[in-house]
């Protein structure tokens, strides 16, 4: 007979703390167990299991949903690093299924087709932690208020064009810096303008940072892209299509990992940027018609 345990699971501290352990690391999109193994061997801190990388979702169109449980399980069985998986915005049942499968983190992701155009998932009751995308500080704080334990700034996924990721991480960090410089009596109006709870706004102003880890994602395709995100102040990076849509995924994965650790060392960056074969074919964000821009999903 086992003794009843008083251990507390699913607390904010273990959810947020899990993301703290990923800092300085690279999280890679993978669609098969073989790719997951390549990512792990290259030094990824986690993998994101999904059925199609954003570049293919973009090319093939159609409704994009959470992945097949068999595929997620085969990845969980293959690697020892954490496995993340995506649920559609607002699709709390997909999230329940992913939690039942034992994934380590759920990404409520704009890369999939939203299931609810009004509400995001209420993430508080889940034991599994969530990461959510944001294009600005207000959006980040609304997600944290719903229970997100990690934020990633959004870029335009599946493009290989890093400009949106750059814009959004700058925006979020700039808005945090502006809050920190405000007088206390100005924070009430700031909360109103950010459309975020006053308590969270005040906490961010006091800390000078989000209360959760801030990664960046979307359009990162080269070691230099990853290093730039780190120099801009990201805690780590997600790389989606950039690795497995390139000429030599193993070499590129490895180089992006090394660049993220040595983000401020141009000599190392020059060395790891050599001989990687072809980068993914890019699409300029400006060439994508507005309704097909993923970063604009979510609110």
């Amino acid at each position: 007979m086992s003794t009843e345990s008083d251990n507390l699971i699913g607390t904010d501290r273990v959810k947020r703390g899990m993301a703290e352990q990923l800092k300085g690391g690279v999280i890679m999109d993978v669609v098969t167990a073989e790719q997951a193994k390549i990512a792990e061997d290259a030094g990824a801190v986690a993998v994101m299991a999904l059925e199609r990388v954003p570049a293919d979702i973009r090319a093939q169109g159609g409704v994009s949903r959470a992945s097949d449980p068999d595929m997620i399980e085969s990845i969980i069985d293959t690697v020892s690093i954490p496995v993340m998986a995506k649920a559609r915005i607002g699709h709390f049942v997909e999230a329940q299924i992913l939690q039942a499968l034992g994934v380590d983190y759920i990404d409520e992701s704009e890369v999939l087709t939203p299931a609810d155009y009004v509400n995001h998932i209420d993430k508080q009751p889940f034991t599994v932690p969530f990461v959510c995308g944001a294009t600005n500080l207000g959006e980040a704080l609304r997600r944290i208020n719903e229970g997100a334990a990690m934020i990633r700034s959004k870029g335009e996924a599946g493009t290989g064009d890093v400009s949106n990721a750059t814009g959004h991480i700058r925006k979020i960090l700039g808005e945090i810096a502006a809050l920190s410089a405000m007088r206390e009596d100005e924070l009430y109006v700031a909360a109103k303008e950010l459309q975020a709870p006053y308590e969270l706004v005040r906490e961010v102003a006091e800390r000078g940072s989000l209360p959760v880890v801030l990664f960046t994602a979307g359009g990162i395709a080269t070691p230099a892209d990853a290093a730039m995100m780190m120099q801009l102040g990201a805690d780590g990076v997600f790389v989606g299509s950039g690795i497995f849509k390139s000429g030599n995924p193993a070499a590129r994965a490895s180089a992006v990992v090394e660049a993220t650790t040595n983000f401020d060392n141009p000599e190392v960056l020059a060395k790891v940027s050599r001989g990687l074969g072809e980068a993914m074919v890019g699409i300029n964000v400006d060439d994508i018609p507005q309704p097909h821009r993923l970063a604009e999903r979510g609110w």
Binding site: T3, S5, N7, T11, K23, D41, P82, Q99
Partner: protein, 197 residues
Amino acid sequence: MTTIGVLAVQGDVREHRAMLEQVGTDTVDVRYVDELDGIDGLVIPGGESTAIINLLKRQELVEPLRAQIAEGLPVYGSCAGMILLSDKVEGREDQELLGGMDIAVKRNAFGRQVASFEAPVYCQTIGDEPFHGIFIRAPWAEVIGDGVKVLGTVTDHEGQTRAVALRQGSLFVTAFHPELTDDTRMHEYFVREIVQS
């Protein structure tokens, strides 16, 4: 002044540095071999153990670190750091480690992230008041060598007592993350009893 290096290839480096500074030491990041010069002790933070060892190889830090550990450099490893300082991982004998402590650890011993938890750690060495342990995909020590002292234990989800804080000579490990709490007693123990003694 005591200077503690924090291995900074990946993981929650900032939190450890903040803790160490609170207990009155200087801290430096260690990413390159020359940054090992002049440190009195080293902390290996929480992170992903496979990613950290991979990066240590590429930063050419594995052999210098093993040499320093063999020479008696005080090292404290939390979570991933505990895995890296152990001699063996149960069931994954192929996983490369730094080694040094005569224990075999079980990775993700309490379960995956959904089983990550908070619980009291009983550790007489730091006092009667239990330490608030934060366990994230944490290991425990499964096999413990004769020269290793168990300093702290926790009750797992099945009611079994598990070894989660251990010391052998100048090496100290915890399966939990004191750096995610406000309690500095573990860092204080490392600095006062191992580095400065």
